[in-house]
Assembly symmetry: C2
Homo-oligomer: 468 residues x 2
């Protein structure tokens, strides 16, 4: 398990933006290798998200433990003619030896909160930016979407059918992982089953039906060849006719010791179809035959189907889940908060950051539900549960990766701690996040300090005369 994350292709140091290498070259030339603190956070929640679920940390830690420049990487970089031998020698020795604090996978969190904090020499903390964001944002995105599907589906079974429209192979497997953490029950993606031990599930395709001369023959063949998992797809030609065929066949199969476990409906009005199919199956004594529904499902239509009491036992969610279709990216960043012991802050319009390393403390109410998340300076202590935990010290993990089922159970308890206004699928504009007095003070002090910066003309001439 987890072998893929250690695969060289997924830990390649070239999975980075060109500017990281260019800046590293400059940092080395300038001797700027003092400790830097960077934090990964989400600037604002996408429309249609009241909370996010942290995921992707284990793959990020795998990457940090394993990222290094091999001979092929260095030879290729040399061939571009962009980099000096001295720089390439430094890269050959590159290892990530920093410290990492992070919010555990499966934790519910909100905008502005630091999800991961890296403390490392400036070049080490810089190079890893692109892949770190790439890994953390994607799984967090999908876990957050999956959590909404889970909340919508109640106790019904949820299955990930998202591989084909996921953005590539890595996306498909990591989407299955993130979805499983957030409460999806199984995946159809075989590779995700192998990599992460996620339970597999599947039914049959229209092509199986079409390849047979009649639908009944296809059903009967499938049941006899794969008696362990008989879930029959009934909408290839006419859903009700398909259901009647299954009803008739299931009695004969039962006599032969084969149980039809379910039928799947992949098109049409899911509510109406499910009701009609349920009646047909029940009338034929097939009360134990479950109804699976697939096709363009998301948390909103799942919630509507459940509100309308559609007799559906399993929701198979594909594209909407594996691409987070309504919000396919998070407005997130990995920003420098401190260098060489001094707090740093970005003031770009609409993209300001908080200066200095930060922490988050969660306070809950008497029912264990989230009341306030306090955003503080890292060295403050505020009552409540600290969300950031030490994950890595000097480039080494502090604990073995937790079992995925433990992360999943933890995430379930996290979702239970959401107060009703945040748990709803409807957009809620409230946020439980408050910023501490000291953090506000530090930001003001930083701005005061910036305002005292020397006028630029004097600086420039000083600078050039030093060079001359």
């Amino acid at each position: 398990m987890n072998t893929k994350a250690r695969d060289p292709a997924t830990c390649s140091p070239l999975l980075t933006d060109l500017y990281q290498l260019t800046m590293l070259d400059a940092y080395y030339q300038l001797g700027m290798e003092q400790p830097a603190v960077f934090e990964f956070f989400v600037r604002r929640l996408p429309t249609g998200r009241n909370f996010l679920v942290a995921a992707g940390l284990e793959q990020a830690l795998d990457y940090l433990e394993n990222v290094r420049f091999g001979p092929d990487d260095l030879a290729w970089l040399k061939s571009t003619g962009r980099f000096s031998s001295m720089f390439l020698d430094r890269l050959a020795a590159f290892r990530f030896q920093g410290d990492v604090m992070a919010i555990p996978e499966g934790t519910v969190f909100f905008a502005s909160e630091p999800v991961l904090r890296v403390t490392a020499s400036l070049p080490e903390a810089q190079l890893i930016e692109s892949r770190l964001i790439n890994l953390l944002q994607f799984q967090t995105l999908i876990a957050s979407k999956a959590a909404r599907c889970r909340l919508a589906a109640g106790s019904a079974r949820l299955i990930d059918f998202g591989m084909r429209r996921a953005h590539g192979a890595e996306a498909a497997c990591l989407a299955s992982r993130a979805s499983y953490i957030a409460g999806v029950d199984a995946t159809a993606t075989v590779e995700a089953g192998r990599l992460f031990g996620i339970p597999l599930a599947g039914t049959m395709a229209h092509s199986f039906i079409q390849a047979h001369d009649t639908e009944t023959l296809a059903f009967s063949h499938f049941a006899q060849c794969r008696p362990d998992n008989v879930v029959l797809l009934i909408d290839t030609y006419d859903t009700e006719r398909g259901a009647k065929r299954v009803a008739a066949l299931s009695r004969l199969l039962r006599a032969a010791g084969i149980r039809v476990q379910g039928v799947r409906i992949d098109s049409g009005d899911s509510h109406e179809q499910a009701c009609r199919v349920r009646r047909i199956l029940d009338d034929a004594g097939g009360n134990d035959i479950q109804i699976y529904v697939s096709g363009n499902l998301d948390e909103n239509n799942i919630a509507a189907l459940r509100r309308d009491k559609a007799p559906i036992d399993a929701f198979c969610v594909g594209t909407h889940l594996s691409t987070s279709y309504d919000a396919p990216a998070l407005d997130c960043a990995y920003k420098l908060n401190q260098y060489a012991g001094k707090p740093r802050r970005k003031r770009s319009a609409g993209k300001e950051t908080w200066p200095g390393p930060r922490a988050v403390y969660r306070q809950t109410d008497a029912h264990g539900q989230i009341a306030t998340d306090w955003l503080t300076c890292a060295d403050e202590t505020i009552e409540g549960r600290a969300l950031l935990h030490t994950a890595m010290i000097r480039g080494q993990r502090c604990y073995p990766p937790p079992a995925l089922d433990e992360v999943r159970a933890y995430c379930r308890s996290e979702l239970q701690s959401l107060p009703e206004p945040l748990r709803t699928l409807e957009v809620n504009r409230g946020s439980p996040v408050k910023v501490s007095q000291r953090q506000h003070q530090l930001a003001e002090e930083f701005d005061l300090y910036s305002a005292m910066e020397m006028p630029f003309d004097r600086q420039v001439s000083d600078l050039m005369s030093e060079d001359g």
Copy 2:
């Protein structure tokens, strides 16, 4: 180049949905191994797309040439307890030995048109479905988005900054490839540069500025350490002040033989900022310093900026490009059209398919612009250019992968063949696709044939008595 696509992880046979394996087991048990024809096509265009650009074929062919079950794959499948030894022995010998016809990469196409046709034994054609869709849909999605950005950007430079918010590593690299095909000029993603030979581009990050005590010092350091590519990020604290610093510094640097190539603005009102920065730079004699803009760009705001004559030389497009943000998936399918010589058709509500293998012929007007795409039966001949070409025979590629720059040049000519109503960014509801008379006839005949299917009760009892 292209080595990654041959990486075992990207050609793993377990990159598939569980049901493909289950169906394969049944097909082998039943001896259903006659030739099948499957076609990949897009059911309908996403809102906000008037055309699509085919991409991903080379990775799909790599996969088909290399997909096979290794000892580890087989051992893991065995460990699941789901499959018989007999079936696993069949898988051990699995090779894709079918024929493939496809629309070349870079071709403009429309809904309903077959993009790729597989003719192979039913199990071979079935197993590959999930990964084939996964590869073709993603690159086609991104190439189609990139083409809109290209049309919007006119002759301005377009750079892919999309890695960090792409859905994983494979998505980032394949998005760079697809974007380059459709006219993006360069990518910041280093691994994509290595894998596919795409030109690299990059600037600097806010952290570089923030790590210095003053902005001017940061600019000066960067220019002196990396004099080959001086593009300075000026919005960390105050964009106009940043521009003034660059203006003053550039004169001094010029005297030292270093040229400031450009400045980048990553926040605020791009049009207003670019105008002010242009004036500041020009007033200081920096007319040759280019303006790069990034931050939340897509084809629509690029078009607006160009319409308003914003003085922007390069657009750096990230999230919107690498996730196809406004339409992060295509409604596409890979469907059985023929088995054992008989046409097959799916009649599911809203998801009907055309029966039998198909072809597309493109007719252009006197100006070389697309007039009509005729959707025909594969054995019809209609005047016009046949879009489907033979790509693979008996599992072997028919030609070496074309150079990416050739594909890119071809795509440019394809975009030029778009008539104005389809080329616009605005939604146009017209489509140049027409269906041939014979294709309509075949569909009617198929439905007639289906209607004559025996009543299900008789079938079921016949079936079971055969078994008994």
